[in-house]
Subunit: 334 residues, 2 copies
């Protein structure tokens, strides 16, 4: 009474051919006479045959699955990235295995260990792993790191230097001369490069910059940053990301600072909420969808045997979205 799904043998029997022929008909149609191929297709359709992906994967490891590791899926930053990844995966008929690592290195290790064997490649969208741990992992399976550069491992990043530069220019044009950088987590690769790029840009643009932090990359972290900021305010701040910027603005308002009246704020990422808050946030928009898409696309290329000379980071352009959280420096000194 068990209504098991039909196997390749069922198809073979009904079509009057050997199982291997059925297999070929699907995998390498060229090796089968078009007549039999057609018949097999017919029978398969009638029987509702669908190759069992697990069984298929066993002999040759082609599971048609890739893992997407994200340390905090709660972060709205990832939504569009996941969508992009999903689109690229679907195009290639791959399935995404989600590894939300819940901000814990241990959970991450376990999740990836578990997933490793079932998966043809991995996109590390965010990870607690050290560079060397990542390199080790990359030895075993194709890996693409997102939003971080790890030497010898292909990556996809946004053009942070350019984004930061645009933000600084924008602020400079508005008359600001001193800029505070509200840093994100210490371990963040993006944080490091943003701060470095800002210093370089400041040099050229003859701005003064200083850094406060580190802070958690959250609204709460932004509030923390505000506390540090008010002790020695400037007329402009660039925040590690939009959530920090939002938290900062709210806390600043509570302290009696007007944004952008007294201080201009720019964030990073252009998350969904950036356009919804008051004032709408000026922010360096990352090409979220493209990042997810590109990461998976390149991963699949790697899996397909592309030389990983794509070892250099692929850099995707970001752009400044000017909204209302930045304005001309007000005359009154601050």
């Amino acid at each position: 009474m068990a209504d098991q799904p039909p196997t390749i043998y069922d198809v073979a029997r009904v079509a009057g051919v050997a199982a291997s022929t059925v297999s070929r008909a699907f995998a390498r149609p060229g090796l089968v006479s078009s007549a039999t191929a057609e018949r097999i297709r017919q029978v398969a359709a009638e029987l509702g045959y669908r190759a069992n992906p697990l069984a298929r994967a066993l002999p040759n490891g082609r599971t048609s699955m890739i893992a997407l590791a994200i340390s905090d899926i709660t972060n709205p930053f990832y939504n569009e990235i996941i969508r992009g990844a999903q689109v690229a995966a679907t195009e290639a008929r791959y399935t995404i295995l989600l590894a939300d690592t819940q901000e814990s290195g241990v959970v991450e290790r376990e999740a990836l260990d578990r997933a490793m064997a079932s998966v043809e490649g991995i996109v590390l969208a965010t990870t607690r792993m050290s560079d060397s741990a990542i390199r080790v992992m990359a030895k075993q399976r194709p890996v693409i790191v997102l939003n971080r550069a790890v030497s010898d491992v292909p990556s996809v990043v946004t053009d942070n230097p350019r984004g930061v530069r645009r933000a600084a220019e924008h602020l400079a044009e508005l008359g600001h001369r001193r800029i505070t950088y509200a840093a994100g987590p210490e371990a963040s690769w993006a944080d490091g490069i943003r701060w470095r790029s800002l210093r370089e840009a400041a040099m050229e643009l003859e701005l003064q910059v200083r850094r406060i932090g580190p802070h958690a990359p959250t609204v709460a972290g932004g509030a923390e940053a505000a506390a540090a900021f008010v002790r020695n305010p400037t007329t402009a701040v660039i925040a590690y990301n939009d959530r920090v910027a939002i938290g900062l603005i709210r806390a600043l308002n509570a302290e009696g600072f007007a944004v952008p009246g007294d201080v201009s704020v720019v964030g990073f990422d252009n998350i969904f909420a950036a356009d919804l808050v008051t004032p709408p946030l000026t922010t360096v928009a990352a090409p979220l969808h493209a990042m997810g898409w590109t990461a998976v696309h390149n991963l699949l290329a790697l899996i397909g045997g592309a030389s990983s000379r794509a070892t250099e980071a692929v850099s995707l352009p970001s752009h400044l979205v000017v909204r209302a959280s930045t304005a001309r420096r007000s005359r009154k000194r601050r």
Copy 2:
């Protein structure tokens, strides 16, 4: 030179036992003398042996994977749900396979077809499928539907009637007598029950209600709703979800309506942005994390053989979060 991962045979050989014994040592330790079990564990550790989950799954179908189908992963509503699901899955050492169906019935069908065979059960967090299609699917694999009730299929929903009731009471207490419901997508189960519940609550509370819509469940949908609303305004509106509420408020502001001065607005879901917009949104909060967790937890129970007499919907409590988008009805007539 291939550095293949060790197999069960490697462990068996080194430990000087049969492969089946190794298998037992891991799966049913009780059936192995503690001495050999210990030795096997040793050897396995030394060799860095990890059972190949695919190979393990083939004989008995226990893939330790479940699918999570979401039609629009772009919707921030799902972030916490996914996290909850992930936590429950991780607890049971299951892995989540993500099926973002990109709002397309076709993509969904394909994605699920592909995933079906690799997965022990499915959580339908959002789906385009008809009730009957879902029932068919539930015949083949354990299924839990989230946020929708399908007869004969176990589900997890939030207590919409109670949430709506609380929203209506809140508005009534503030002196509002006429409420507009800005509907979501026609196909949405939640939309249906919200509107029905609102009518019932209105009856008891002696309120007048009317409905506008359907609208897309997005900020743009909210703007649409505003256009319809202004043609015949009321002093209060309950929106299908937070995104619609936010879009509505913005469009209303653009039309010269103050919120909550002229019109009070309440949303649903309490998404991340709800607390960030101006005014902060009064909303019926869904227990997002718990929903994801419960869905997966119950699914795993089903997989574990629990009688699906859990066929009735599990209803999780929601609660009203009062923020600043609702206020006492202003005297001036509208």
